[in-house]
Amino acid sequence: MRGLPIGSWPVWRQLTGPDRTGRAAAVKSRHSADLRARTADADRVVKSVCPYCAVGCAQNVYVRDEQVVQIEGDPDSPVSRGRLCPKGAASLQLTTDPRRLAKVRYRAPYATEWQDLDLDTAMEMIAERVIRTRRDTWQEEHEGTRVARTMGIASLGGATLDNEENYLIKKLFTALGVVQVENQARVCHSSTVIGLGTSFGRGGATTFMQDLQHADCIVIEGSNFAEAHPVGFQWVLAAKARGATVIHVDPRFTRTSALADLYVPIRAGTDVAFLGGIINHVLTEGKDFREYVLAYTNASTIVDERFRDTEDLDGLFSGFDPESHTYREESWQYEGVHLVSATGERDRQFEARVAAGHGLQDDAEGAAERNGHGAGREEKFGSGSAALDGQPRRDLTLSDPRCVYQILKRHFARYTPEMVERVCGIPPEVFAQVCRQLVDNSGPERTSEFVYAVGWTQHTDGSQFIRSASILQLLLGNIGRPGGGIQALRGHASIQGSTDIPTLFNLLPGYIPMPHAHKTQNLDDFILADAARKGFWANMRSYTVSLLKAWWGATATPENDFCFGYLPRLTGSHSHYDTVIEQMNGACKGYFLLGENPAVGSSNARMQRLGMAKLDWLVVRDLAMIESATWWKDGPEIASGELVTERIGTEVFVLPAAAHTEKDGSFTNTNRLLQWHHQAVEPADDRRSELWFMYHLGRIIRQKLAGSTDPKDRPILDLTWDYPTIGRTAEPDAEAVLAEINGWDADGRPLSTYTELADDGSTVCGCWIYCGVYQDGVNQAARRKPAEEQHWVSPEWAWAWPANRRLLYNRASARPDGQPWSERKKYVWWDADAGRWTGYDVPDFEPTKPPDYQPPEGARGVAALRGTDAFIMQADGLGWLYAPAGVLDGPMPTHYEPQDSPVDNPLYGQQRNPSRLLRPHEQNRYHPNGSQRGAQTFPYVVTTYRLTEHFTAGGMSRFTPYLAELQPEFFCEVSPELAAERGLVHCGWATIVTARNAIEARVLVTERIAPLRVDGRVVHQIGLPFHWGPNGYSRGDAANELTSISLDPNSHIQESKAFSADIRPGRRPRGPERVALVREYQRKAGITTATGTEV
């Protein structure tokens, strides 16, 4: 052994050096001296974005020797400022844990075990099954109208994926005639699109994260901001540091409440009554921001004299058809005008508008019978006149009894503080404080902001929750202004992107509706039916033609209607939950799960599994062995004996997915910000991106179908599908896909903005609202100019749609004359000398249209918008206090009780949302309500939610030890009072039962859950985090076993935020006893097929 120089001996150093006590310098070891941060020695640092929620925290991925060695926040980001929450911090373990799924797994029909399968073979087999099922289930016609589709295949998932991946999913499946394409947005935030879209013109959050700091009052309601979006919450604290008041309204006292100035407990599902109460306060006290309201909202517009309010009809609006449980909207219209909303069920008005547009009599007789309601039905109403786009009559004094302002005032008159207390359980003095804070902090000098998430969206009238906030914010003049707006917090990395480039059944990219089946329908009729006459939607033909050109290239010509006929047609609702029914009926035979876990994450999880058990084949692509992949082997129905593995014919392919560090692509965050993440390392083993999977699946299918003369194969064979591939795995070039999404002109030059799009086929654009993201051939989403080198808006960090605007409708941040409302709140204003709009952001307005511009007679499209029409996507340029179209369950929000509620509706005789969508089924029974017999069998209110430490259905957290250990078990939160009432023991077990299923959870007794006094009785609430399932490192029952399929008619979102249940001490029964317990409850409550289905 070689001797070490004596100088390296600690004892020598101690005796000879200054550290005589031998506790510091003298004893520093060689190892300590040689320590170096692995971040300092990385070969490269790759710019990425966190794959969890939609705040979009920028990450630095450190790579050494082609291995990811560390992931940290990128301090350059103006959104996250280098910070990460526990999930973001755990993304190293998420992506590099050796236990991550690596190899293809295959389960043959009726097999009891997995077997190995080569990736190429799996791809061939899947392609073969797609072709076969498509052929076997092809529908050229449906009840006499052409549909050109297959109902035999469905796809679910996309919100965790890149925009480019979503684009290929939608493109390939649509070309194959698959219409049942859905993703997490359906179950999370679809109501947002309706609520915000119909109110303001675009279905996304109106503001951006950093702008929260400028709010004077922040109301967080329907969101547990600090827990579900921790890094975004820093901006709430920034506002607080500047003196803002933070109010949290929630059924539970959460980590958000802990940091709020005022916590307001509320009964789950009653937010419309609460917000309606504030609206009533503003209107009766005359506290609205009158100048704003007059200029920028439809307050002064006169409504058709046939309109009848819920005041007149005990909770119903005029036009209700009790047979179909639907409304006919004709009486809701503006007087003498027929409008198309910017979002929502726009195609519904097809027959009427086309008939009127052609100057024909309504010839809708015999038009397609569109089954189900909500997504379309026979539309017979018309305006009776060809002049659909007349000028609505307005009364600027707001005194006409039929003007929107007066209608609104009457509608909300009964939402008094006393009523708020009766419905929501909120004491009047607390309610008064909220009103005072909001009113005091709104106006020219001050602004208030609302923040919400799925606490608002997931209700049978979820869209109306968001409409309520929209109305309030319009009345207070808080939209389009700094520190104002409505912040929709979305929960997946690209759930906004998968809505914009929709893997959703009813939409095409950029919110163009998917065409419904009509007797005759060509492109012109489609546009005529859906396009607005005013505003930017008037250019819908350009957007649509450019999309068709992107998909079918040279084949799409003016002569063949740009292949418009290649698009499969809808005949009703084909949403996620309808697909489950189709699966149970045996009509849907093949299913792709692309990063979504419905066996845990979707309502009535049991029905999800029973549906999958009827499939011919199932393809699961994920990072982990999720419950949706293994239910045939170890699911709850195997345990109960309802399913037997050997008798399940479903063939299952599990394909490991690539992680965000292993692929290029863009995520669109909750504020419409497209951020590019770069591939750090190539995925190992069989792991592949969805981009790879969709591209190669399409390639193989096209190969197999090559030479086919079958007309139904033309859309797939004519599809533009020639993306360059790179690397060892032949990964398609994501930037090439982005370039197509952005689009190019006739010379192949990248387009800069959607105003360049043409309707003659000379431009190509895969998603018109994303046009500009590849401006000048530069990936604008990859821009990473540090926040410190820019002003606070940071316009050169990534790219936001539309046109890189960060704060939407910002024309309204200026007075009608174009000058800022106040110095404190200036944002975008008219520079008269320069003759253009200027400010801190890209003006959300035509840059040179002066404030006093008045459209000439007969003007159409954008030219028809006045210089004060701040809501440029709206058909009338105005914010909609009253929605004359686009919201199927009413032009104004009305409080209805949840589908399953132990409480009567104190407001109206009408108990539940009359036009909610129900799917009565043996496996989907509903509860009696309120004072109905049997309702008190389920006396408690349950709400479900997220925890900071976990993510959605758990696939990205329950398998990750560093996260699992932080919240190791499924638990229920109950108050001490409820625990006493039911004999529940802290840390013991409880069984929670509904008519759908029974689950067990550990009991967490906490004073954070308050019993509320509601209409003279005490209502107890039960909190259930929904992350758990039987697989993974941390396991438990899934809360979604309890929820029912009862849906908002607009968005088809399920009601998982409020429903009734019973709770009892102890663990749930095992085996068949579990089913027996549920049957027993059904019997006790007297539940029949009809229960809960009355209007």
């Binding site: 506790r23 820093q234 607080k240 540091a241 008041t245 980590r255 005022l262 407990p265 967490l1004």
Partner: protein, 323 residues
């Protein structure tokens, strides 16, 4: 050898200088401002990821949202959750609202608090607004090794495994530690702990490896709300004092610093805290003292006794020799 505490207490010398580092960098540490902690546990995870600390098992503790339970060999950052029903004018954690008009602040301060239906406060059968207001606090606080100025763990370590770095922090050297465990009972905060399957002791290093390349510790870097702030200790102490005074001005009278005082029993902590209640509420000792405080005196007395004994022995034996 016994430490001479006067060396640093009396002259208030920088511990790194005392430790024999020539021109050491400024002493660094953590200021954990619990008034903005949202209990997200990003610090716990970021620490584990960076330091490859093993996962600690799945234990549902029922202690609010705290399932980590304590600092130990496999948990170097621990977030405590304290659910507190108590009468307060308002939720705390209020930053100085200088822009808030006085009347607004007054109205907020005097608001009738919301009943959460706590037992003994607002029974649900009583009308909430008639019951004296009861507010609720959910305190969260991320605990960590204090990196004491006088660190007993360091004093008792016989191997030189625990050492004072040039940054003034206290670190276990994993290549030296022999697992004797003397340091475990020596820590007045119960921070340091032995890893069972490994035999050695482990605790927060204040990311020593990151400090040497100018990077902040992983927990502080991750913290979404800047509850954990890293920096030069002198600057952090000034910042913390200002923060406390801001909070007091805002009516949060319970705000106080813990571990910031260089005159306390450990000579001031390198990682100190802003708390909203007594330290015990968060599971922190109210008056920690370096457990080796009395060692010098003990050694001196032992020395005296030994000298006396020696003298006595000599005295006894000398006459005998003469005999």
């Amino acid at each position: 050898m016994a430490p001479d505490l006067r060396e640093t207490t009396a002259e208030r010398r920088d511990p790194a200088t005392v430790g024999g580092y020539a021109e050491p960098p400024e002493r660094v540490g953590f200021f954990t401002d619990t008034s903005v902690c949202i209990g997200c546990k990003a610090c716990e995870v970021a620490c584990k990821e960076w330091n490859a600390v093993p996962e600690d098992g799945l234990t549902f503790t029922g202690m609010s949202y705290d399932n980590t339970a304590q600092l130990d060999a496999n948990t170097w950052r621990h977030v405590a959750f304290v659910e507190q029903p108590r009468r307060l004018g308002r939720q705390e954690a209020q930053l100085a609202p200088t822009e808030v008009p006085v009347e607004l602040r007054r109205s907020a301060g005097g608001r009738t608090a919301v009943s959460l239906g706590m037992p003994g406060s607002a029974p649900p059968d009583g009308h909430v607004d008639t019951v004296p207001g009861m507010d609720f606090r959910w305190l969260m606080s991320s605990d960590v090794c204090k990196h004491c100025t006088h660190a007993a763990c360091l004093d008792v370590c016989p191997t030189g495994s625990l050492f004072r770095t040039e940054f003034g922090t206290v670190v276990v050297q994993e290549d030296i530690c022999n697992g004797c465990g003397y340091c475990v009972p020596a820590c007045p905060f119960g921070v340091i702990d032995k890893r069972e399957d490994d035999g050695r002791v482990w605790k927060c290093t204040l990311c020593y490896d990151r400090l040497s390349v100018g990077q902040e510790p992983a927990c502080a870097k991750s913290c979404p709300t800047d509850s954990i702030q890293f920096g030069e200790l002198s600057e952090l102490r000034a910042r913390a004092a200002a923060r406390v005074s801001d909070l007091h001005d805002a009516g949060v009278e319970s705000a106080r610093l813990y571990g910031a005082d260089p005159h306390d029993g450990v000579g001031g902590a390198g990682a100190f805290f802003l708390l909203l209640d007594e330290p015990e509420v968060y599971g922190l000792p109210p008056d920690p003292v370096v457990t080796t405080r009395d060692l010098p005196a003990m050694w001196r007395r032992a020395g005296l006794v030994a000298a006396g004994l020696l003298a006595a022995l000599v005295a006894v034996s000398l006459p005998g020799a003469r005999r």
